[in-house]
């Protein structure tokens, strides 16, 4: 029982990261109808920027905030420069753009900061929280920060004018344009926010998986699994899906002998395929009706 509880809580901690990634994926999906396969590499690059800032002597939280700002600007810039000119191209072309972005970011990070594995500091410390032995301080911090940021986003989208504009631009671009919302810039804003969200996920998970250019690949996949599980049209569902995937991953790794440890990644993927087959819109997604 002790072990079970321990694994569930550890799963929730990594699940918080998957939830952030899943939400970032859903935000871009809502805006442009495509999955951003370069999301993980954008997050990885942001994490390297944070690391560099700390090497230059900034305190952790200073670097944290500056990185969020830089990531936001970079996300907007990527949308404007790489994506916007081809926004009306077929989906296949969009996928190729993401693949190109993936290759560029991955290789540039390796070139600037090389491929050696680097430790990343945690502001919470690694000792157990309150001496309970159930959860480490860093895991608790990961959950707490993710929850704070997710609730801030909820408030932003629910109660601010610009959040409302962004939702309008995503749900009906043409009508939104007609009432004077600048849809193009709303999409760019969504990219910026998704990039910052990814940066949070990257900086929080880096102390656990260590910093290197390929660190986000499997995390991105778990993020996809979470987003699909919850439903790509439902931000709340995606967050819940992220937490669920974290817990399932941890429990499978502990309790299914042999298969769980060696085939951890395929399990997440089998989950994606299973959910998609049984319920293509995800657990909380709304059904898509196309007019012909």
């Amino acid at each position: 029982m002790e072990l079970f509880l321990h694994q569930v809580i550890a799963g929730l901690a990594t699940g918080a990261i998957y939830a952030c990634m899943a939400l970032a994926i859903v935000m871009i999906y809502q805006a442009i109808d495509t999955l951003n396969f370069a999301q993980g590499e954008m997050a990885m690059f942001s994490t390297f920027i944070a690391w560099q800032l700390m090497q230059w002597g900034l305190p952790y939280w200073g670097a944290f905030v500056v990185t969020l700002a830089i990531s936001f600007a970079a996300g907007v810039a990527i949308e404007r420069l790489a994506f916007h000119p081809l926004r009306d191209a077929p989906v296949l072309t969009h996928l190729v753009i993401f693949i190109a972005l993936f290759a560029i970011l991955n290789s540039a990070a390796g070139f600037i900061w090389d491929f050696t594995i680097k430790p990343f500091p945690t502001p919470f410390g690694t000792q157990p929280l309150l001496g309970s032995g159930l959860i480490s301080a860093h895991d608790a911090g990961m959950i707490a920060i993710s929850l704070v940021i997710l609730s801030l986003l909820y408030v932003f989208f629910r109660y601010t004018r610009i959040g409302l504009c962004m939702r309008a631009a995503a749900s009906n671009p043409v009508s939104a344009r007609l009432v004077g919302i600048r849809v193009g810039w709303m999409v760019a804003l969504g990219w910026g926010m998704a990039a910052s969200l990814g940066a949070v996920a990257g900086m929080l998970i880096a102390p656990v998986v260590f910093l290197e250019p390929n660190m986000m690949l499997s995390i991105l996949l778990y993020g996809f699994a979470g987003a699909v599980l919850g439903g790509l049209s439902s931000p709340g569902g995606a967050v819940l899906g992220g937490f669920t995937v974290g817990v399932i991953e941890n429990l499978a790794g502990t309790f299914i002998p042999y298969v769980g440890r060696e085939l951890k990644l395929p399990i997440a993927l089998a989950l994606i395929v299973a959910v998609l087959t049984i319920r293509p819109r995800g657990l909380f997604g709304s059904r898509l009706v196309t007019r012909v």
Partner: protein
């Protein structure tokens, strides 16, 4: 959700603009050049061209699925791997000749693709891309797993003996395999061109363009979609089996999702919905990463990405689309 994922391509490159005699002359010239190349080039270049043709076959398979039937796949490395391992296991464990392994690998992949096509029926667009991506990522791990190790050799992979040219032909093994690949590639390409222009091919294209209209016309959508998935896997599996023979080595890490993405990029760069564009795609998959590597060792991936972005800006409909455009322009100017 955008239903129509591809610009409606013409079935054949420039049928409507180039006179028939010109086309025939171009095809004959290309064939003669292809036959002469192994005697002109160095052995390694011959090997590279063979690999480019093999990738082109796999891209052709992907093209049947994506370009003509509108189903995405980012997991074709899995079918490539199954084909390669089928050939390697048949040759090394059972001592069967390599030419028998090609149809066998194709048929096994057909069955595998057909079965994967069943759940894929429920998925569309990016969702299907995601599910197939999952397949591509899972495959190397499955090949490495312990229960399969006696067959697959685990992480070590399998060494395959390279066949010599038969009948005492004065050819090196690389040259011989070049001709084998050329012949098989031609058969597959002609087969695909005929299929696409046939009744079944029109049904495939109708499903891509408008599934509801296709169903109203009496096309069995589920059957055609799963069969196309199987056929696509067949093509890719044959390519995989050939690659096992040509490279004379298979290992799980040669078939990661990077290969899937390479094939996908080759498809888009060569031209979605163009049979002959696949050849350009194959050349791109093989040579552009090498070229990027020569420009800058450290930044190879970035150079590759930038080349890719530029190509997509300059020719959104791929190389085949660009050639079609130029041919049309020439025809208009001559009038």
């Amino acid at each position: 959700m955008k239903e129509n994922v591809t610009p409606t391509p013409k079935l054949d490159v420039a049928t409507d603009v180039l006179p028939n005699a010109w086309r025939r002359a171009a095809i004959v010239a290309a064939l003669i050049a292809a036959l002469a190349l192994p005697f002109v080039l160095k052995s390694f270049a011959v090997f590279q061209l063979t690999m480019a043709m093999i990738y082109a076959m796999a891209i052709l398979g992907l093209n049947l699925l994506t370009g003509f039937n509108g189903q995405f796949s980012l997991g074709h490395s899995a079918f490539f791997a199954v084909g390669a391992y089928t050939a390697a296991i048949m040759i090394e464990s059972f001592g069967i000749d390599y030419y028998w392994t090609l149809p066998a690998a194709g048929l096994i992949c057909f069955a595998f693709g057909f079965l994967f096509g069943l759940p894929a029926l429920r998925l569309e667009g990016v969702y299907l891309a995601l599910a197939t991506f999952a397949l591509g990522i899972a495959m190397p791990q499955i090949l490495k797993s312990t229960p399969l190790e006696p067959w697959t050799g685990g992480v070590q992979g399998i060494q395959v003996t390279k066949p010599d040219a038969p009948f005492d032909l004065p050819l090196t093994s690389d040259q011989w395999l070049y001709y084998v690949s050329l012949a098989i590639g031609l058969i597959l390409a002609v087969g695909a061109a005929n299929l696409v222009n046939s009744r079944s091919g029109r049904a495939m294209i109708a499903i891509r363009d408008n599934p509801i209209a296709a169903r109203a016309m009496g096309v069995n959508i589920s059957l055609y979609k799963t069969l196309t998935f199987g056929l696509s896997a067949f093509y890719t599996g044959v390519a995989g089996a050939l690659s096992a023979v040509v490279v004379s080595f298979v290992a799980p890490d040669s078939f990661t999702f990077v290969l899937s993405i390479g094939l996908f990029v080759g498809l888009v760069v060569g031209g979605v919905g163009s049979i002959w564009g696949a050849l350009f795609g194959g050349l791109f998959v093989l040579f552009v990463p090498n070229f990027a590597d020569q420009i800058s060792k450290g930044l190879a991936g970035a150079v590759y990405g930038v080349i890719l972005l530029l190509l997509i800006y300059v020719m959104p409909s791929g190389a085949a689309g660009l050639i079609r455009l130029i041919a049309r322009q020439v025809a208009i100017n001559r009038r």
